[in-house]
C-alpha cells in the first residue's frame, strides 16, 4: 500500500462506477468469455478518451468482422508482430502534433491490446523494444493461456501439463511439457514504471490498476488473467469462479511492480490447494497426484520468491 504514494491517480470506487462502455453488446465472443469481460472492465476504467491498437487475436476476431464493429472508441487492428510498434507510432505522432500545436488534448490514453500469443510469442520483440524506448502507453496482455481463436494451440503462456490441440493426451504425450513463461517478471525487468497482474473477478482492482497505468509517465504493462471456457474445457458460468480460485490458490498471484518495487496484495495466509483450481477444468483432468504435487511445490516456491521481492522492496525504502 505504501508504494501507492508514488502514483497519483483518481481511484474508482464501487459506489461511483463509470457508466461508460467502450464495446457494444452483440459481439461474437463465446458465452462466458473472460477476455471480453476483462477488456470491457479495463476500458470502463479508462473512459472514452482512449485510442486502442489491437493485435490479432480473439478480441479482434470477435469484435470486428467487416462490416460490423463493436467498438465505440477509435480502434486499429494490426498484425501480431507489430502492435507495440504501431502503438509507439501513434504515441510519437500525437506527441509531434502536440508539439506543433495541432492537437491540444494531451490526456488521451493509448492502449495496446494483445493476447498471450501476440505478447509472449509473436509480438514479444516489438513490445520489448517499445518498453525500452519508453513510449507512454499501456499494454494490456489478455492471457487465456493458448491460441484460442485458431482452436486452442499451445503458446509459451500455456501452463505445464495443460491439454491443447497441439499437445494432446495419448500414449506419447500428456499435455504440455514446458513451463509457462513468466511474462510480468520479464516486463518488470525492463525497468518500466508500472507492471501489474489483474483478473476480471476483481473488477475494481483491475480498473484501478489500468488507471494507474494511464497515470504514470512512460510505459505500463498489465497482465490480465482471462478465463476461456471453450479452451479450458469448463462450463461457461465458471469463468469468474475460476479466476477467484486461481488467485486464492496462488496459481495467479495479484501484484504490482511500481518503479521497481514489488507490492503483493490479496495474498491469503491459507491458500487453497492447487488441486481446487485443476479440478474445475477439463484441460487438466488427466493430472496425476504426482503432477499436482510438482505444481504445488512450484507455486509455493514462486509465491515465496514474490513475497521476498516485496519484503526487499519494503526494506530498501528507508535507505537514504
Amino acid at each position: 500500500m505504501k508504494a501507492d504514494k508514488h502514483l497519483e491517480f483518481e481511484k474508482i470506487t464501487a459506489k461511483a462506477l463509470p457508466e461508460f462502455e467502450a464495446l457494444s453488446p452483440g459481439h461474437r465472443a463465446c458465452p462466458g468469455c473472460g477476455e471480453m469481460l476483462a477488456l470491457r472492465q479495463a476500458l470502463k476504467g479508462l473512459g472514452p478518451n482512449t485510442i486502442v491498437v489491437n493485435a490479432t487475436g480473439c478480441i479482434e476476431v470477435v469484435s470486428t468482422p467487416f462490416p460490423q464493429t463493436a467498438w465505440n472508441i477509435p480502434w486499429m487492428h494490426v498484425a501480431f508482430e507489430n502492435a507495440s510498434a504501431v502503438g509507439s507510432g501513434v504515441e510519437a505522432a500525437r506527441r509531434a502534433l502536440l508539439r506543433k500545436g495541432r492537437l491540444t488534448d494531451a490526456d488521451t490514453t493509448i492502449v495496446v491490446v494483445g493476447g498471450d500469443g501476440g505478447t509472449s510469442d509473436i509480438g514479444f520483440q516489438s513490445l520489448s523494444g517499445a518498453l525500452e524506448r519508453g513510449h507512454n502507453f499501456i499494454y494490456l496482455c489478455f492471457d487465456n493461456e493458448a491460441y484460442m481463436n485458431t482452436g486452442v494451440q499451445r503458446s509459451s503462456a500455456t501452463p505445464e501439463f495443460a491439454w491443447t490441440t497441439t499437445c494432446p493426451l495419448g500414449s506419447a504425450s500428456s499435455g504440455k511439457t514446458h513451463k509457462k513463461k513468466d511474462l510480468p517478471r520479464i516486463m518488470a525487468a525492463h525497468d518500466i514504471p508500472y507492471v501489474a497482474t489483474a483478473t476480471p473477478a476483481h473488477p475494481l482492482d483491475l480498473m484501478n490498476k489500468v488507471r494507474k497505468g494511464a497515470a504514470v509517465k512512460g510505459p505500463a504493462f498489465i497482465h490480465i488473467f482471462s478465463p476461456c471456457p471453450t479452451g479450458w474445457r469448463m462450463p461457461a458460468e465458471r469463468s469468474i469462479e475460476i479466476a477467484k480460485v486461481a488467485v486464492k490458490s496462488n496459481i495467479y498471484p495479484l501484484y504490482e511492480v511500481i518503479h521497481g518495487e514489488y507490492v503483493v496484495k490479496r495474498n491469503s495466509k491459507n491458500p487453497l490447494p492447487v488441486s481446487e483450481y485443476f479440478k474445475l477444468q477439463g484441460r487438466f483432468k488427466h493430472l496425476t497426484a504426482q503432477d499436482v504435487r510438482t505444481i504445488q511445490d512450484r507455486v509455493d516456491a514462486t509465491m515465496d520468491r514474490l513475497l521476498s521481492y516485496a519484503r526487499l522492496s519494503d526494506d530498501t525504502k528507508g535507505r537514504p
Binding site: P25, H27, W71
Partner: protein, 97 residues
Amino acid sequence: MAPHTYFQGEGPWSDADQLMLYLDTGSWRSLRPVVDAEACIYCGLCALFCPTQCMINKGEYFLPNLEFCKGCGVCAKECPRGAIIMKPEGECDASKE
C-alpha cells in the same frame, strides 16, 4: 428494437455500415436468466460481471437484454442473493420480456 439505438457513438475511424451492426447473439441462448426482482438487492455484480454487458439497470433491479444475452450463466453464478435462475428456453414464453 431499432438497431440504431446501440450504435449512436460509432467510433470516428470506423467506416462500418451502421445498419449491419446488429447481431442477434440472443439466438445462441439455450438457458435464459430469470431475475427475481424482489430478491435483487441492486448490488450490480451481475452487470459488472456480464461478459456481454447486457444487464440493464432498471433503477431498483437489473434485467438482462435478451436481444444479446448468450445465456452463459455468469450472472446467476455470481449473484450473492441467488436472485437469478437459469431457465431452459423451451420452458419460457417466446416473448423477449
